[in-house]
């Protein structure tokens, strides 16, 4: 005969067993009728339960004033009203916060845009806009005295020495065009779109009347096309430079030319050169994949790569006459390291090569200027910059110029290149 467990005995005692388990309730009832031990346990459990209840009754409020329900309900309505006010206030506060955040964001965007534009602009007095730190370092080549034999085209004549022209020259000198990082690409698209609009507006409004040459108009048209093309393929533009030739003619001759610009010479010829330089970046993006051996053969030097990083691609520039190789390696972070390598004879010799004389040479000229400047000091690192999360280093190594670009901090890229072979 199975006796009743304590739990069921108390559940039976409390009148809960029937609702929990009717079968067990019936069994306990039958068992208690015939089992004296269990009946004694049942009585003991009842005494314990009653004693417990008695003990607990000693710990309770002696007297409770039960407030009328209406009073409690009134308290609720007051609380609801307060809550409603609070909720409304909170909603307004949220809306205000969002508006404020948007306003701050917009202001920050404007400031950032201005700072980007200032990188390529000259102030009204004709003096270069002051820069600090690394920016100054980056800009130095343009302000340095030009080594003899290096031909730098004047930005424009005095009448058209607009900021846009300088910017155009700068944009054209970006060589090789770095691949945009994921974060930078949308921004560049946006800038390119703005530039395109600006170019179109300025071009339509004041095209040509102050320019004497026909070629300049051609340059303007090409520049507009260039801006539109950049909007479609933003990888080419590295910085926010206003569309150069398009902006140039519209500017009144209020701003004197920068110090290094030889003003007022061979306008048509320069305009043509400039126009060609502008058209060039589109071609420079053409890279043809090749075998490493072939690349090294064309380059006449071993390809520089960072050991331990998988090589993503090896390409040769299809547009450049001089062999320019590009090696892309995948970083551990998933980003791409780009090493653009080209032969670099002595700076003077670079200037003399036909490649430099052609429009694309704008970039090579800049490198040559930098090489000339820093090689004298025996430095191997020629230039370093860090913009929009992308570090760029220009190195001279074993007779080669190497431009390394990667979405890394500058120091990391530098350390990485030490391991390059």
């Amino acid at each position: 005969m199975l006796h009743v467990a304590d739990g069921n005995l108390h559940a039976y005692l409390d009148g809960e067993l029937r609702s929990l388990d009717a079968v067990e309730h019936a069994r306990v009832e039958a068992h208690l009728a015939e089992c004296d031990d269990c009946r004694a346990r049942f009585d003991a459990a009842a005494r314990v339960r009653d004693r417990a209840r008695f003990i607990l009754s000693g710990a309770g409020p002696a007297h409770v004033d039960v407030p009328p329900f209406e009073q409690v309900a009134a308290g609720v309505s007051i609380k609801r009203a307060w809550w409603s006010d609070y909720t409304r206030l909170r909603t307004v506060a949220w809306a205000a916060s969002v508006v404020l955040a948007l306003a701050v964001g917009w202001q920050a965007r404007e400031l950032w845009l201005r700072s980007v534009e200032r990188e390529t602009f000259i102030d009204e007095s004709g003096a270069p806009v002051p820069r600090t730190g690394a920016e100054q370092e980056e800009q130095q080549p343009e302000r340095l005295a030009i080594p003899p034999g290096i031909h730098v085209p004047p930005a424009e004549d005095a009448g058209a020495a607009s900021t846009g022209t300088v910017a155009a020259d700068r944009a054209a000198r970006q060589s090789p065009p770095p691949r945009p990082t994921a974060g930078a690409a949308p921004r560049r698209q946006e800038i390119a779109a703005e530039l395109s609009e600006e170019a179109a507006a300025k071009g339509a409004g004041a095209a040509g009347p102050q320019r004497e040459d026909v070629v300049a108009e051609g340059a303007q048209v090409r520049a507009r096309e260039e801006a539109a093309r950049v909007a479609a393929a933003p990888a080419v533009i590295m910085e926010a430079a206003p569309p150069p030739a398009a902006a140039a003619p519209a500017q009144p001759p209020a701003v004197p030319a920068p110090a290094f610009v030889a003003a007022g010479e061979r306008k048509a010829e320069l305009a043509e050169e400039e126009a060609v330089a502008l058209a060039k970046p589109a071609e420079k993006t053409a890279w043809a994949p090749v075998e490493r051996r072939e690349a090294e053969r064309r380059l006449g030097a071993p390809l520089v790569t960072v050991e331990g990083l998988p090589v993503f691609s090896i390409e040769l520039s299809a547009a450049s006459r001089e062999p320019v190789a590009r090696v892309t390696q995948r970083l551990a972070s998933g980003g791409l390291l780009e090493l653009v390598q080209e032969r670099a004879p002595t700076p003077t010799a670079v200037v003399e090569t036909p490649a430099v004389k052609q429009a694309e040479g704008a970039a090579a000229r800049r490198l040559a200027v930098e090489a000339h400047r820093t090689e004298a000091a025996g430095a191997r690192e020629l230039d370093a910059s860090f913009t929009t999360g992308t570090a760029r280093l220009l190195l001279r190594r074993d007779g080669s110029l190497i431009t390394a670009t990667a979405p890394l901090p500058l120091d990391s890229l530098r350390a990485l290149l030490k391991a390059a072979q």
């Binding site: 304590d6 005995l9 108390h10 559940a11 314990v48 209840r53 409020p61 004033d65 409690v72 309900a73």
Partner: protein, 172 residues
């Protein structure tokens, strides 16, 4: 069918106050918290609890927990002040209980303190009139375990209280 909160209030308020009293050990505070539980219940627009009584006890238990935390913080703060002021050692609370009812309440409090938390909770809920099913829902215990839990809790309470009584009698 709309819920008649007035009826729930009438049938539950006293039980709720008693339940809360054994949690916060302060009659006025227990009453305030019971009212607060109802205020919260009535503020729940668009939400109708399946078991209003059980829901109220759950809210009340949470309020009591918050209250206990507050009391602990206050005690800590007072303890710090006491150390800073270097006052005389505190008088044992039980010695402050002058009348018989207060002494009895203190004994119950001490006896309940000897129970496990779940046993104590189940016992107080049962004493407040909740069914086994409601107690299970409230405590998270299995329905079949409530009888056993209550059996153990009752026996432990009686035993602890009797021991305290004997101790008190021995002191004279």
């Amino acid at each position: 069918m709309s819920l008649d909160w007035a009826e729930v209030y009438r049938s539950t308020f006293l039980d709720l106050v008693r339940f809360l009293h054994r949690k916060v050990w302060d009659a006025d505070r227990a009453q305030e918290l019971a009212q607060e539980a109802f205020v919260r219940a009535l503020s729940q627009t668009g939400r109708r609890p399946d078991n209003p009584r059980a829901w109220l006890f759950r809210v009340a238990a949470n309020l009591a927990k918050d209250e206990a935390r507050l009391v602990i913080r206050r005690k800590k703060h007072l303890a710090l002040l006491k150390v800073e002021a270097e006052t005389e050692p505190a008088v044992e609370p039980e010695l402050l209980q002058t009348d018989e009812r207060a002494a009895r309440e203190e004994a119950v409090r001490q006896a309940l303190a000897q129970l496990g938390e779940r046993d104590r909770e189940a016992l107080l809920l049962w004493d407040a009139g909740l069914s086994y099913r409601e107690i299970a829902e409230h405590t998270g215990l299995a329905l079949g375990a409530i009888g056993t839990t209550l059996a153990r809790a009752r026996a432990r309470l009686v035993e602890a209280y009797s021991a305290l009584e004997a101790k008190h009698a021995a002191r004279g």
